[in-house]
Symmetry: C2
Subunit: 201 residues, 2 copies
Amino acid sequence: METDISEKGFGKYLIRNAGIREAEANNIYNNLEKRKVPKGEILLKPHEVCRYTFFVEEGLLRSFTLGEDGKEHVIQFAPENWFIVDRSSVYFNDPSETFIEAIEDSQIVLIDGDFIENISKVTGGFDKFNDRLLHNHIRHIQKRLNLLLGASAEKRYLNFIEMYPDLLLRVPLWMIASYLGITPESLSRVRKELVQKKSGK
Amino acid sequence: METDISEKGFGKYLIRNAGIREAEANNIYNNLEKRKVPKGEILLKPHEVCRYTFFVEEGLLRSFTLGEDGKEHVIQFAPENWFIVDRSSVYFNDPSETFIEAIEDSQIVLIDGDFIENISKVTGGFDKFNDRLLHNHIRHIQKRLNLLLGASAEKRYLNFIEMYPDLLLRVPLWMIASYLGITPESLSRVRKELVQKKSGK
DNA sequence: CGTCGAATTGATGTCATTCAACTACAGTGG
DNA sequence: CCACTGTAGTTGAATGACATCAATTCGACG
């Protein structure tokens, strides 16, 4: 049975952000695979080819790599209304080098490549929407690159809490440290100093 | 007068990499603006909106930012048959934060957004080609992110000479250092140690 | 020939890592 | 209900990687 999706995650998202009419969004949404994933579940592992773009309706996912040093490096966090995917892997059919993991119990939508192609044929504007996502992604990574090249651990942390204030409450600090490219101990000290600076004013 | 472009840079590139037939490539190529740029010329400055994607037929360009610390950070090098552009700026019409500069006397092709749209209508497959470029770009900067997050200066340098052996001979070391996110002095020492390791074998 | 920028080298400083100890707390099984 | 265990987070002391500052060499070019 089809459901009215006007208040549901991905359907609502399409209407608001992709300029897709409600009837169409409804149709799209009802043809997509949804899943509930419990905290801790791994949705993608290295050496697998990434087959889906995941859209997070509820909960929180992350992607990360395991460096040669044996350490995790968080690539991205994906809370509600975010996409998460290994784009290189889906696009080139390359084996992925990253994990995608649920760090909260989550409700997600699975979008595969065929689906996107079909949608593009039926729904004008989906291509453009997709294109905007790609460019947003690029802008995002590029900004992060600039920070890593030029900013101290403290600045990177401050930038993080500015960009993702909500994540601060939901993500363990050691993952944030990993995202910032520092150790948990260093992040702990950075935070300590920030508190001291504030109280010193 | 139209020229046969079969042996010329961008036309040849289109035939070989975008799956475009020679007649079409010829037509495309003859409608594009070309420029000779002397070493040192700046093609894009911060606060300008980037209007062109530059294709390098001959020579060498780079893009870089000026960090808050007042230091340059090289984003990308673009030798023959590479594109260089501030994608966020062209796509979103945002003022750029980067420079694009010729670091050798160069011969370039200027591709603007309108042109790409027109080509897409006429030439099937150009969209897909463009899409592949975008995904290549993402793969590229993602790899760089991983290196910055996980690898030492030495590893990053080794990776660089593996990926761009030719650039090593054409780019001043201080620019490579900037690309790697270290100081010229540090790069000098890294190189010294590598020589010593080799001779020590 | 003189000048300027690139590159190297040494001495020293700084930031972040490493390793280890310790606290707090949540989940588990007796 | 309590002891046991594991994970997150903090803190301290020592170390390490890279930066900074200053001096020198080298080569390109006017």
